[in-house]
């Protein structure tokens, strides 16, 4: 177990190193910190002097080293727009995005598993055909259109749900602004979560259905029937546990895609999360904020991949996590 974590830690360090290098190169070439600090009416010599003082004329590696050492301490510079530490600005919006992702994940799991399983048990039945048909439509509708469609239907025409923002939030644990604990907050979460879920839902349903259909043909499932085990146990334990293994693997890879799609979803719903912030930062050429976002996203990516591998190792007894007996 420990060996597993150590190995992953080193991998994470390598990944973060690469991400930080790329981020830093972006920062170096994008935007001019000087422009934000001083006005136009400053002479060229004074500018150069200021650049020397700020270390902006030093060689690349030196500047990078400085950047990296500050980054490890959590200092990623100040946002040009907000005039506050970039990392703090990003992390303040973290709960909003996180809750959106949690909402979407809950929806995906609660829907895709039963639907996938039932359509695999009767693959040629009406339910299965309807599900497959809907899932192709689902794949074909880009996420922002789903968002627009949902807003039009539920917010504008029917007026059941709000169309933007997070609504009322409460602060839990002293710093996490959560929308889960108020009715208003939950109402605001519904449409965005469904929108985000809609990207992955068809994929997971088809995947679970396909894997389950294969598993149901296997010898061990036949043996379970021969033992006289109840159908429910056969479908939901014998078959499902084997089905979920490749699903977990694929699901893990899709997490990276989810992050990109939060940007789109948050934009449509004006959801005050990291993605929306990132897009604004891009429009304002607020480089420290852009860089901070990339680094935070990179870290999330590494952590979730490690978690997925861990979960897979725990579920699949034939896989030995490095060091686990």
């Amino acid at each position: 177990m420990i060996a597993f974590f150590i190995k992953r830690f080193f991998q994470a360090v390598v990944v973060m190193f690469v991400i930080s290098l790329i981020s830093f190169s972006i920062q170096d070439n994008l935007g001019d910190p000087l422009r934000e600090l001083v006005g136009q009416a400053v002479s060229e010599e004074e500018r150069q002097a200021l650049r020397d003082e700020m270390g902006l004329n030093d060689p690349f590696l030196v500047q990078y080293a400085r950047f990296a050492s500050k980054a490890i301490q959590g200092d990623l510079g100040n946002s040009y727009f907000f005039k506050e530490p970039a990392l703090e600005v990003i992390l303040k919006k973290f709960p909003a995005t996180m809750e959106l992702v949690i909402g979407a994940t809950l929806i995906i799991v609660c829907f895709s598993v039963p639907v996938g399983v039932y359509s695999a048990i009767k693959p040629n039945g009406l339910f299965s055909k309807v599900v497959m048909g809907l899932s192709i439509v689902g794949i074909s509708v880009p996420v922002f259109l789903t968002a627009i469609g949902l807003i039009y239907l539920f917010a504008i025409e029917l007026g059941w749900m709000p169309s933007y923002g997070r609504g009322e939030t409460t602060t839990i644990l002293g710093f996490w602004e959560s929308g889960f604990f108020t009715a208003d907050g939950l109402m605001h979460l519904v449409l965005p979560s469904f929108t985000l879920a809609s990207i992955m839902l068809p994929l997971f349903i088809r995947l679970i259905r396909a894997e389950m259909m294969e598993v149901l043909q296997s010898e061990y499932v036949k043996f379970a029937w021969a033992k006289g085990i109840s159908p429910r146990r056969i479908y939901f334990l014998h078959a499902l546990k084997n089905t979920m293994l490749p699903v977990i693997t694929v699901g893990g890879v899709q997490i990276g895609t989810m992050v990109a799609y939060t940007i789109l979803t948050e934009t449509v719903f004006q959801w005050p999360g990291m993605g929306f912030l990132f897009l604004e930062a891009v429009n304002r050429v607020d480089t420290p904020l852009i860089v901070a976002y990339l680094i935070v996203v990179g870290a999330i990516f590494v952590v979730t991949n490690t978690l997925v591998d861990l979960i897979y190792g725990l579920v699949n007894p034939t896989v030995k996590l490095a060091g686990k007996k």
């Binding site: 994008l30 259109l145 627009i148 807003i151 940007i263 789109l264 934009t267 050429v285 852009i290």
Partner: protein
């Protein structure tokens, strides 16, 4: 015994072989495939002939009258029969903007996929045929690239590009940038598929025969092995075009794609979004439907092709 000369039938032409093939038969029975293909062809025709059949040129300022703005589609009470699908906020005819927009979307989709396919095929063929260290290296790179979602990479690259070069230069280069980004981001898909096929074909006898006859590596790769790996390429291509169109639409929607001066369907939807709240739903919904149908049709074709060409091989 009559002295008769043996007359051999000429070998079937390619067209005849196609007509008797499993592929064509499956197409003829499957109505969904036929309808999808017909719709796709319709789209392509419309897109290619946009300049001819569009009633207006929406990018010619002299043809736009701001007083014509936000007119609903012609079947609505307040509609105007000049504008079949209504007008947008600037007074441009929706039908025309959609025709031009579809052209842009399809062009980007197909070009991006051509780029992906080219890169992916070359790299996949090389990795599969040469093997060894080259193969491991290339596949490692592919794996790493696969773990970063295309959308994320595209957003970052385009964002940085736009911020660095400013909006004007960006607008001119937008189409090329989109094709490049989507094209380069997705080559691993093709590479992996081709490589798998190549590895399977490598073991077959005709490859040994070609080698013994002294053909060079390149020639064997491209002229002998490649034609036999075409069916998986065909299968993923339709889906990849659909995905490229969606990616471009999403990027344009975020403002990182095609500009308003040369909009794709995505940009049209984006610029129309705010008007949905004031009731002018058609500005965003109609281009949206056009986009959905296009992508849906391509996905259906892709699914059908996968079932026909080889049901078990491409689980993904």
């Amino acid at each position: 015994m009559t002295d008769s000369t043996m007359k051999m039938d000429a070998p079937p032409s390619t067209w005849q072989r196609f007509k008797e093939s499993h592929f064509w038969h499956s197409f003829r029975i499957d109505r969904v495939a036929q309808i999808s293909f017909a719709i796709f062809v319709l789209y392509v025709v419309m897109a290619l002939s946009a300049s001819f059949i569009a009633p207006f040129d929406p990018y010619d300022p002299s043809q736009i009258d701001i007083l014509d703005s936000e007119i609903p589609p012609s079947w609505d009470d307040e509609g105007d029969e000049r504008f079949l699908l209504g007008t947008d906020a600037q007074g441009r005819d929706m039908l025309s903007t959609i025709l031009y927009g579809t052209r842009v979307s399809i062009t980007i989709g197909i070009c991006a996929v051509l780029l992906q396919a080219f890169l992916g095929i070359v790299i996949g063929l090389t990795a599969g045929y040469v093997g060894g260290r080259v193969d491991s290296l290339l596949m490692r790179i592919a794996d790493i690239q696969l773990s970063f979602s295309t959308m994320m990479v595209a957003i970052i690259v385009l964002a940085v590009f736009q911020a660095t070069f400013g909006t004007e230069l960006y607008q001119e280069l937008a189409m090329i940038m989109l094709i490049l980004v989507i094209g380069i981001a997705e080559w691993p898909q093709y590479a992996r598929t081709i490589r798998a096929s190549v590895l399977a074909e490598k073991k077959k006898e005709y490859v040994d025969a070609a080698r013994v006859m002294g053909f060079g590596r390149l020639r064997i790769m491209f002229r002998h092995i490649l034609p036999n790996t075409l069916s998986p390429i065909l299968v993923i291509s339709t889906v990849q075009i659909a995905n490229a169109i969606i990616s471009e639409a999403s990027l344009s929607f975020l403002g990182l794609g095609m500009p308003v001066s040369q909009p794709s369907l995505g940009s049209l939807i984006s610029s129309g979004f705010e008007y949905i709240f004031s009731g002018a739903w058609w500005i965003t919904v109609i281009p949206g439907l056009v986009l959905i149908v296009l992508v849906l049709v391509m996905n259906l074709l892709g699914d059908w092709m996968r079932d026909v060409l080889n049901p078990k091989l491409y689980k993904g």
